[in-house]
Amino acid sequence: MPDWLNITLRAIGAVAYLFLLTKIIGKRQIKQLTYIEYIVGISIGSIAAFMATEMDGPIYHSLIGMGVFALFPVLMEWLSLKSKFLRDLFEGKSTVLIKEGKILEDNLKKERLTAEDLMEQLRIKNVFRVADVEFALMETSGEVSVLLKSESQPVTPKHLELTVAPTEENQVVIMDGVIMDEPLATAGLNRRWVRTELQKAGVALENVFLGQVDKGGELYLDLYDDKLMVPGAQAMKLAFATLKKCQADLELYALNTKNEQMKRTYQTDSEQLQQIIDQVKPFMIR
């Protein structure tokens, strides 16, 4: 076998074996790697490179070496699942940096963080005033988590005591002019529904770059042709406007009629309709 062919085959074998090993180690992002996993990753890589280019020793030596290296993170993860002590030992503990609004300088020193580092980390979290921070913690991954004081936290519907409609998962049903069957089925719709909606909007399927099903089964469309205007989803707004019109009509009739009993019926009806409108408003107008 010529050398070049040998090296090519070894390289392909090394990559395939690497792929297999990384599958076993599992999916973790580079950012979340622990120190030991980082070292293991580098070592496995260099052994693989060695295996591809050095033709002196037998291949299985490298294979065994890589296998042992790959086994370590798996073993350590399994052990840390079993014991809290080992977990703390392998993965480290998080450090409190700010507590009750006060910076803990000793802990900063322990993590070898300067004031600038801390400020930088806070700024990354969009916090520019230390006075706004109630609690900050350095996670084992080195990232800083920040809890703002309650008066500095962004306002949520809960604070405003607003009723909001539950969020629904939006499904992308058209991609690059092709109907996606699986998300469509998840949304409880079918191809015929998509065709009807496209016809309603007056758009050809080939012209759609992206189509997404929103709340209440409304289809949002983005076209390749950006000059073309797509009518926005109107069904909900229209129904809501109709309701409001009916309510106003009922009030009008209540004022106009001379029949006392009928006046009362109209009034209670219009009040009831107003209640319904208030209930459905967060769901229909978002």
Partner: protein, 68 residues
């Protein structure tokens, strides 16, 4: 437009809105929204009934405008 015709129009709109509620209830996958819409459709039904009754009365008063 007579009063009768106006009430009839409102009745038709309200029936349309009720049907919309039912459509929304069927088309949403969210249980809470589904429940809310079907509840709204039910509540609208009683108003529709009252209006229907009123239309019948008005038709008795103005028989020349009977029918939609």
């Amino acid at each position: 437009m007579t009063v009768g015709a106006q009430v009839k129009q409102t009745l038709a709109s309200l029936k349309g809105a009720q049907a919309d509620f039912e459509t929304f209830a069927l088309s949403t996958q969210n249980k809470k929204a589904k429940q809310l819409y079907s509840q709204a459709a039910e509540q609208t039904q009683s108003i529709v009934d009252n209006l229907q009754q009123r239309v019948t009365e008005l038709e008795k008063e103005e028989p020349q405008f009977k029918g939609f």
